[in-house]
């Protein structure tokens, strides 16, 4: 018998059987056997195949498009060009056509499309479309694009509609958005500082590389009824953006998402669906399918914005940061998409988990003629934490303080305020515990005897680096979701949620939350996997690491509602007071007379008395949850309460570097996250390791490379590498801290994005500690380490001009000057001496 008399009360932690256990994934069998269907596996009657004509130029005027030969090809059902389509797209700034009309703005942009009976016919038809371009010199370097005389990627920016509450585009420039944060008095802060250190850090665009490329099938039937099957993270956003762009009522559009082969943010919004819908309509309502090739995934579909991050820090010699001025130049590519929001979300998070009394942030989203940036795991945080955590390391070294001690001195503690003025409490999470645990996991500050021996034997230097991180979900302040729990006639339960299973394990975790709330075995709760906007209740998007809290809470409420309905009927049946009832996995019973009971099965779809009278009805629990107490950010000062929760974390990296060649090996990564409550340890570990390895990829081998004309030189795996199994560090460790999130389900908060954040600077810091090589750019290839070791000019390698190219022509080539104002005479420094952390 349970000790909890009230069905709405949550179980004691010591009694939990579903939550905190590594249950197998609910959808794993289909994935293991090949039965699980992804969008590309679907074949519909009458389905046509689509192919896209793409621009080979980064910037051009389209002078003419001749589709006549394509249209005459037998088997072609529809050919489309931009001018036929009077629709505009854009999540936050409506700046994009479905197909380029007069202007091509990036390499790989779609200029025409075909739907045909077969892939071969569609490909042939695309070849037969003749496009005449007037090629224009592209603007590729964001630091050039931001200048007043730069050619404009969007000359008509002033006429675009946009979300005014959140964004500030600057018409007549290439600036799609400016976000500003103003906290305290920056001048006073700098005047208090004994040292002022200013550096700049950069990273290129990278691709999400889901194994399953973008794919969709769309059918636009008579009566303007549209069905969309798509590999997407956010079916309701697909529907709403689609309807907004195509000017249709929501009820006429249905979005179905089967299994998804990875998203990582690249599938967060809307991509192929509008084009396919228009092809379908023109083809008389036949369903039209397009699966992006891998090369199209790299250039037609969006990527992650590149970033140049300049940080100026004022610090006292006791290690306290007094002021920090942060300027972010986001290279968003040709369209604003999510990039303006990445800018905004990064803006309020830009200082990291540190207490900085006086802070300014100026963040710019800059248009350039390149494939554009969309949401990507971390939503800007992987990019800016590279700079921030390298900077913290360098500041510590300049003032002669151990980097761990320096971080500890400045990390947020209960009572401190964030950049937006939010007060941190002891329930927010424990960044210090995370950093401490990461440091211990790698024996930071010393080499073990084995490491000493290894270093002596091999001649390679071993270094250890740390980096912290934090992130709150980047989402509207009123984000909401709902869950529906339906009881089957055998007493089992089906849970409907629109939080989409994309591999992150949310279906299993939410199922465990449901089972725990119901006090049912996990196997008695089915979480429906395929999402259908006609059937699932609304969820905003599967992004931002907010699913566990919002959908988890909604699920708890739905299950409590389900139980309450069951109890109400049971009270009648058992002729008992509600407060005298309790339940187990099978039945509701009278606490003081347990033999008086009624099974859930008997109640599930309506209870029938022996004489045939029926009462009650199908038990359907509904839970809805909206983020509570959040507020908009003031557009001038950035003050407000945007954060649903903060997940803090830290990485420790041990690296071994060949001082002669720059080659390096990651010996160990240990990552620690304060997740409040671990719902499924194995799934959390899987997210951590997956994120760490994706972080390693972005740190050492990923990045878009363009030539001076803006052609993407590495649009495939040949030259856009991602980690393989051989690239795993020798040891990889995941650690959880559980500082309960008071308003999270069982105390949980999300961790989906976080494992990737700050891996790169931890590695950069470790390399620095091993050899003194200062790396300011990502990725850190062996050659980059070699160059840094020899103080040779770095190669940005984003825009090559054989042999060297720099995307920042206003900075001198060569090692960046260390600007230090005031402070004692700089002495040459060895690797920092470890001191005990504060």
């Amino acid at each position: 018998m349970s000790e909890n008399p009230n069905p709405s009360e949550m179980p004691n932690p010591s009694e939990m059987r579903a939550v905190g256990v590594s249950h197998p994934r609910v959808e794993v069998v289909g994935k293991l056997t090949g039965d699980a269907l992804y969008t590309g596996d679907l074949v519909l009657a009458g389905m046509l195949w689509a192919k896209v004509k793409k621009s080979p130029h980064a910037r051009a005027k389209i002078l003419s498009i001749d589709t006549s030969k394509a249209e005459r090809l037998p088997g072609v059902h529809a050919v489309l060009t931009g001018h036929e389509l009077d629709y505009r797209l854009g999540l936050y700034i409506v700046d994009k056509d479905i197909l380029a009309k007069d202007d091509v703005r990036h390499f790989g942009e779609a200029v025409a499309a075909v739907a045909a009976d077969s892939l071969e016919v569609a490909e042939r038809a695309v070849e037969l479309i003749d496009v005449t371009y007037a090629v224009l010199p592209p603007v590729l370097d964001p630091m050039q694009a931001i200048k007043p005389d730069a050619p404009l990627v969007h000359p008509d920016l002033g006429s675009y509609s946009y979300v005014e509450a959140a964004f500030s585009p600057q018409p007549g420039s290439n600036i799609a958005n400016v976000t500003r944060m103003r906290k305290g008095d920056i001048e006073a802060g700098f005047s208090e500082a004994e040292w002022i250190i200013e550096r700049e850090y950069t990273n290129p665009s990278v691709q999400h590389v889901p194994l399953e490329t973008h794919v969709a099938i769309v059918q636009w039937k008579a009566g303007d009824e549209v069905t969309i099957w798509t590999s997407a993270q956010s079916p309701f956003t697909v529907r709403s953006l689609f309807c907004s762009a195509m000017r249709l009522p929501l009820n006429q559009v249905r979005v179905i998402v089967p299994h998804v082969g990875g998203g990582f943010g690249g599938k967060a919004g809307i991509h192929l669906e509008p084009l396919l819908a228009c092809l379908s309509r023109k083809a008389g309502g036949r369903p039209v399918k397009l699966q992006a090739t891998r090369e199209e995934e790299f250039s037609l579909l969006p990527c992650r914005s590149a970033l140049t991050y300049r940080i100026k820090t004022g610090v006292r010699s006791d290690g306290k940061i007094t002021a920090q001025q942060m300027t972010m130049y986001w290279d968003a590519g040709a369209y604003a998409d999510y990039a303006v929001n990445v800018t905004r979300a990064s803006g309020y998070s830009a200082a990291g988990p540190y207490a900085i009394p006086n802070a300014w942030v100026d963040a710019y989203t800059i248009y350039t003629n390149k494939p554009y940036g969309t949401a990507y795991r971390g939503f800007g945080h992987v990019e800016f934490f590279w700079g921030l955590e390298r900077h913290m390391e360098l500041v510590a070294q300049v003032i002669g303080m151990d980097p761990l001690e320096f971080r500890m001195k400045n990390l947020l503690r209960p009572g401190a305020t964030t950049l937006t003025g939010e007060k941190i409490t002891e329930h927010s999470g424990d960044p210090r515990k995370c950093l401490q645990a990461a440091a211990e996991a790698i024996d930071y500050g010393r080499l073990t005897p084995e490491e000493q021996e290894r270093q002596e034997r091999t001649g390679r230097k071993i270094g250890k680096g740390l980096a912290t991180l934090h992130k709150a979900p980047a989402m509207p302040s009123f984000t909401a979701t709902a869950a529906v729990a339906k009881m089957n006639s055998d007493g089992s339960v089906v849970l409907n949620i629109a939080l989409t299973e994309i591999g992150q394990g949310c279906a299993t975790a939410v199922g465990q939350i449901a089972a725990e709330t119901l006090r049912f075995p996990v196997g008695k709760v089915k979480v429906a996997i395929e999402t259908d906007t006609d059937k699932e209740p609304y969820d905003w998007q599967t992004v931002a690491s907010k699913g566990l809290i919002l959908t988890g809470n909604a699920t708890v409420l739905a299950c409590q509602d389900l139980l309450a309905q069951a109890y109400e009927v049971a009270a009648q049946v058992l002729r008992a007071n509600r407060d005298d009832l309790d339940h187990d996995a099978e039945k509701i019973f009278v606490k003081h007379n347990p033999e008086s009971s009624v099974s859930f099965a008997a109640l599930s779809v309506g209870y029938a008395y022996p004489n045939g009278n029926g009462i009650g009805g199908p038990l359907v629990g509904v839970g809805r949850y909206v983020a509570q107490g959040l507020s908009n950010l003031d557009k001038e000062t950035g003050q407000g309460l945007p954060a649903l929760d903060w997940t803090y974390g830290a990485h420790g990296v041990i690296v071994e570097v060949d001082p002669d060649t720059g080659e390096f090996d990651v010996l160990k990564i240990a990552s620690v996250f304060d997740v409040g409550k671990v719902i499924n340890p194995a799934i959390m570990r899987g997210q951590c390791i997956g994120g760490m390895i994706q972080g390693l990829g972005t740190a050492l081998c990923e990045g878009y490379i363009y030539d001076q004309e803006g052609h993407l030189l590495n649009p495939s795996f040949t030259d856009n590498k991602i980690p393989t199994a051989k690239d795993l560090p020798e040891v990889i460790e995941s650690v959880a801290v559980e500082t309960a999130q008071l308003d999270g389900p069982f105390g949980a908060r999300g961790v989906g994005e976080h494992p990737m954040i700050s891996v790169a600077p931890a590695l950069g810091n470790a390399i620095h500690q091993a050899t003194g090589a200062e790396l300011m750019h990502m990725p850190m290839r062996f050659e980059d380490v070699w160059r840094a070791l020899l103080d040779k000019a770095p190669i940005d390698n984003w825009i090559t001009d054989s042999p060297y190219g720099s995307c920042r022509s206003d900075l001198p080539s060569g090692p960046h000057p260390l600007e230090v104002a005031a402070g004692p005479e700089l002495q040459p420094r060895e690797a920092p001496v470890a001191t005990a952390p504060v």
Partner: protein, 271 residues
């Protein structure tokens, strides 16, 4: 971008050579497919006829004799070489080059012959064949000719092969059986990757040869060295022989530096 082509898979050698003679540049030979089918998909190759040579009798053979040496026929895969007892026993350099070529799945299909006929500057098997003094037996309907591998490569992805010709045999002479050898290539990741710089070294009977990939339009052979030479002599010779470019993978300077590093490493392994 895939053109429609006809597929032929002759079982008779004469038929294979006849098809190639008749179709000239319209025909492409299919061995492992790991280069050709990628090129076809990307539109770099647009054959009208694809001629699969794998069913031709004897084309999958690897044979060895004291008299002739090791003979590798056109359909012999990289994994075939890696698993062949005589190769493992007597040709460590071939094993070293083969084992880091792409991935296991690719090695099950890619052929030794195909790797050198494709003639990428990065071709992993080329340094071994150059060091081992291998010869190419080139056949057509008109007859055959023999070309030493050091004369086989003429430019980036270019060889002495003419339309209608196939590389029918790679002969590794018996003199270099049991030569000691090793190959190391610099990659961007630890996983499968083409070589940024590749260095093979072979030592036998006082002779030292180096084979270098990814540092010139063709794979290079560095001769005239002896086992007794100090390492730095070999390093200098290698650095004089190469003329690398800077490209999106690597700069010329780093390639020059790493050739020296790899020569030293490989020579240490072949001590």
């Amino acid at each position: 971008m895939t053109d429609i082509f006809k597929y032929r898979s002759p079982v008779l050698r004469a038929e294979l050579l006849g098809i190639l003679a008749d179709h000239g540049e319209d025909a492409r030979v299919l061995a492992g497919g790991t280069d050709l089918l990628v090129d076809v998909r990307n539109g770099f190759a647009r054959p009208k006829v694809v001629v699969d040579l794998k069913r031709v009798e004897g084309f999958s053979d690897v044979s060895w004799s004291q008299a002739e040496g090791l003979i590798i026929r056109p359909a012999v895969t990289i994994n075939d070489i890696l698993q062949h007892a005589k190769v493992r026993d007597s040709y460590p350099l071939l094993v070293a080059c083969a084992q880091d070529l792409a991935s296991h799945q690719i090695r099950n299909r890619a052929t030794v012959v195909g790797n050198v006929v494709n003639a990428s500057p990065c071709a992993d098997m080329a340094p071994a064949l150059l060091c081992l003094g291998a010869r190419a037996v080139i056949s057509s309907r008109a007859g055959h000719r023999v070309v030493p591998f050091k004369d086989f490569f003429t430019g980036v992805k270019q060889t002495v092969l003419r339309p209608g010709e196939i590389l029918e045999e790679i002969i590794v002479p018996p003199e270099t059986a049991t030569a000691r050898g090793s190959y190391r290539k610099l990659k961007r990741i630890k996983g499968h990757d083409l070589g940024i710089v590749g260095v093979a070294a072979m030592k036998k009977d006082g002779l030292l040869r180096l084979g270098i990939s990814s540092c010139a339009p063709t794979p290079l052979l560095v001769e005239g060295l002896s086992e007794a030479d100090p390492v730095e002599v070999a390093v200098t010779a290698a650095q004089l022989a190469i003329h690398p470019i800077s490209d999106l993978r690597c700069s010329r300077e780093y390639r020059e530096h790493m050739v020296g590093v790899f020569v030293r490493r490989v020579l240490q392994e072949v001590a």
